[in-house]
C-alpha cells in the first residue's frame, strides 16, 4: 500500500495552489461580501483546464485521475470555497454525467465548450417538495412530436445564475402514465427558461445559487440524456461520484481554516506569549489537523476506488460525511482560536465558518450519507 502522491499529482497540487494564491486569494473576501461571480478569473481557469478536469481528451478535457481532481478542488477551496463549489458542481455533476451517459452527438455538442469553461454547467434536481427524497420530484416532461414539453420549478441550483448548460431532472409522463425519471440537457435561453431569485445564502456567497424555472419549455428529444426512465440512476451515479468532489471541497475548506488559525495563533499575544504556546490552543490545533488528514485520506480512498473501477459502496458517502463534519468542526474551532476577532468579518475564518456549514447539507445531507452507508452495511454483513 502506497499512500504517497505521484510526481504528477504533486505537480497538479503545486499548479492549483499557485493559481489559487495568485488569482483567488486577492478577491476571495471581496466577492463574498459583494455576492459577485468573478468572471475575470473564469477564463483563466478555463485555460488551465479547471472546467474539464476529467472530461475526455478528445472533447477538450484533461482526463486527470480522480485523486488529481480532488487535489485541484481542494486547493481552490482552500482559498475560495465558492469557486471550489463552482468547479466541483460543473465537473462532478454536469460534465461527468454527460461524459458517461450522453451519446456521441451530445458529447460533441456539449462537452467542448463546457470543458473550455466557455459555458458553465448546472444540476437541477431539488424542488420545493423534493430534496433528499429525489423520487418525489414534480417536474414533468410530456412527449410531443420531436420534443418534450417540460415544466419544472427547481430550487437551490448551484451556479444557477451563470449556468449555460443544465441537467434537469423530470418525471416523464405520457398520456397520463408516468414512465420514470428523464434527464434533459437544457440550454439557457431556451424559450420558457427563466432564472429565478438569487438565494441570499449564509455562505458560498460568490456562487450564484438560484431557482430555475421551465415553463412549457420545448426540449428536443435529442437533448434527453440516456433513456426515459434512466433518470434516477443517472442522478444517483452523478451524486455518488460528485460527492467525492464535495468531500475534496470540504477538505480544502478545513485545511484553509486550519492554515489561517495556525497563523493567527502564532501572531496573537496573550499572557505575554503567542497563544500557540498555550496548551489549550495546541490541543485544538492538533485535533483539527488530525481530522483534516483523516478526511483527506478518506477522500483520496474514494477517488482511488473510482479510478480502479471498484464499487464505491459507501466510500464516497463516508468521505463526504466525514469531510463535511470536519470542515464545520475545524472552522468552528478555528473561529474559537481567533476569539472575538474570529467573529468579525475582518478575519477570513468567519468566511470559512459560513462556507463550511453547507457541505453538511448539499449533494446529500449528512443523514442521507448515513443512510447510504448503513444500507451498504446491511447488504454486506450477514
Amino acid at each position: 500500500m502506497d499512500l504517497t502522491l505521484t510526481v504528477k499529482q504533486k505537480a497538479i497540487r503545486k499548479m492549483a495552489r499557485q493559481f489559487a494564491e495568485n488569482e483567488l486569494a486577492p478577491i476571495a473576501r471581496e466577492i463574498d461580501a459583494e455576492r459577485r461571480f468573478p468572471w475575470e478569473v473564469i477564463e483563466k481557469m478555463g485555460a488551465v483546464n479547471f472546467f474539464g478536469m476529467q472530461a475526455p481528451r478528445k472533447y477538450g478535457g484533461a482526463e486527470v485521475d480522480s485523486i488529481s481532481y480532488c487535489i485541484a478542488v481542494e486547493e481552490l477551496s482552500r482559498i475560495c470555497a465558492a469557486i471550489g463549489l463552482t468547479v466541483s458542481v460543473h465537473n462532478g455533476v454536469a460534465v461527468y454525467p454527460i461524459s458517461v451517459f450522453a451519446n456521441e452527438t451530445q458529447k460533441k455538442r456539449f462537452i467542448p465548450s463546457l470543458a473550455a469553461g466557455e459555458k458553465i454547467g448546472g444540476f437541477c434536481l431539488t424542488e420545493p417538495n423534493a430534496g433528499s427524497d429525489a423520487n418525489a420530484i414534480e417536474a414533468t416532461a410530456v412527449p410531443h412530436g420531436d420534443d418534450y414539453i417540460v415544466n419544472a420549478n427547481k430550487i437551490y441550483v448551484t451556479n444557477g445564475g451563470v449556468a449555460d448548460v443544465l441537467l434537469v431532472f423530470t418525471s416523464v409522463v405520457s398520456e397520463g402514465v408516468k414512465r420514470g425519471m428523464g434527464v434533459f440537457i437544457v440550454e439557457r435561453g431556451t424559450p420558457g427558461f427563466t432564472v429565478g431569485i438569487l438565494e441570499d445564502n449564509c455562505g458560498m456567497r460568490a456562487n450564484p445559487v438560484t431557482s430555475i424555472i421551465l415553463n412549457d419549455c420545448r426540449i428536443p428529444k435529442a437533448n434527453l440524456l440516456g433513456e426515459e426512465g434512466q433518470g434516477f440512476k443517472i442522478g444517483m451515479i452523478a451524486l455518488e461520484t460528485g460527492r467525492i468532489g464535495i468531500a475534496a471541497q470540504a477538505v480544502g475548506i478545513a485545511q484553509g481554516a486550519l492554515d489561517v488559525s495556525i497563523k493567527y495563533a502564532k501572531e496573537r499575544i496573550q499572557f505575554k506569549v503567542p497563544i500557540a504556546r498555550h496548551q489549550a490552543i495546541q490541543m485544538m490545533l492538533a485535533d483539527m489537523s488530525t481530522s483534516v488528514e483523516a478526511a483527506r485520506l478518506l477522500t483520496y480512498r474514494a477517488a482511488h476506488k473510482k479510478d480502479k473501477g471498484e464499487s464505491l459502496s459507501g466510500a464516497s458517502s463516508m468521505a463526504k460525511l466525514f469531510a463535511a463534519r470536519t470542515a464545520s468542526q475545524v472552522a468552528s474551532m478555528g473561529l474559537q482560536i481567533h476569539g472575538g476577532y474570529g467573529y468579525s468579518k475582518e478575519y477570513a475564518i468567519e468566511r470559512y465558518f459560513r462556507d463550511a456549514r453547507v457541505t453538511e447539507i448539499y449533494e446529500g445531507t449528512n443523514e442521507i450519507q448515513q443512510m447510504v452507508i448503513a444500507r451498504e452495511l446491511m447488504k454486506t454483513s450477514s
Binding site: 510526481v7 504528477k8 484533461a62
Partner: protein, 263 residues
Amino acid sequence: MKIIVCVKQVLAANQIKFDVKTNTMVRAADNSYINPNDLFAIQIAVQLKERYGGTITAVTMGPPISEEVLLEAMALGVDRGMLLSDRRFAGADTLATSYVLGMGIRKLGDFDMVLCGTESTDGNTGQVGPQLAEEMDLPQVTRVEKIEKQGGMVRLERVSDGLREVMEVAPPVLLTISREAVSLSLPSLLDIQDAYVDKKLDCFTLDDLEADEQKVGLNGSGIWVTGLTQVPNKQKRCEFIKGGFRQQVQTLMEKLREKNLID
C-alpha cells in the same frame, strides 16, 4: 531555433535543512522544486519556439530525483529533458557543475543558444551560466531582457546602470535571462498530464558522457565549503504606539524620521 535551457532543482526557501556533519543541505522530494529564476529562461525559450519554431531541451545535473524539475520544465513547454546523474557528480562546486553541463550539452549536437537563469535561489553564486560559456567557449551575455532573431544574428537587449543596451551576437551563444524578461504563466492540467505521463527524458552518467572523473564532483571542485552555519531570520517586530491621537501621530512621525523614511 534549437534552444537548450539549464535548470536546477533547489530547496524551498522555508524548508532548508542542514546536515551539520557533512556541511551539506538535505534534499528530499518534498522540499525541492525548480529554481524560480530558471522559470524565466524556460518561459522565454517557449516564446522563442512559438515565434521561430524549433526545439527546446532542458538539461540538469543532480540526483535521480532531479528528474522532477525536467518534468516540470516539460509541462511548461520544453520538448525533452536531459538528466546528468552519477554519484561521482556529488559535491560539485560551480566549476565542476559547468564542466558536466558542458559535456552533456555537447552530446546534443549543434544548437543556437543555451539559456540559464541568472542564479539559483539556494546557492546564489550566479556563476554557472558564465562558467558554462567559458567551458564551451561560447560568447555570453548576462541578464538579457529581450531576444530577437535578425537574419543569421541574434539581437539582444539588457538593462545596466539605467541604460538599455542593444547588442547583436552570432549564435551559438549563452545567455542568462533576467527576471524582467517575461511574465510567467502556469502550466495547464493537460500540459502536466502530457509531460508527466510521456516522460521524454534521457539520463546520462559519467561514463555515458565520457567525462574526466578528475573534473567532476568534489575532485573537480576548486572550492570546498569548510563551514556552514545557519543565519537567524530577521524577526519582524510589532510595536503599539500609545497615547492620545495627537501623541500617537507625533510618535509615529518621530519613528519614521529616525529610520530616515521621511524627511
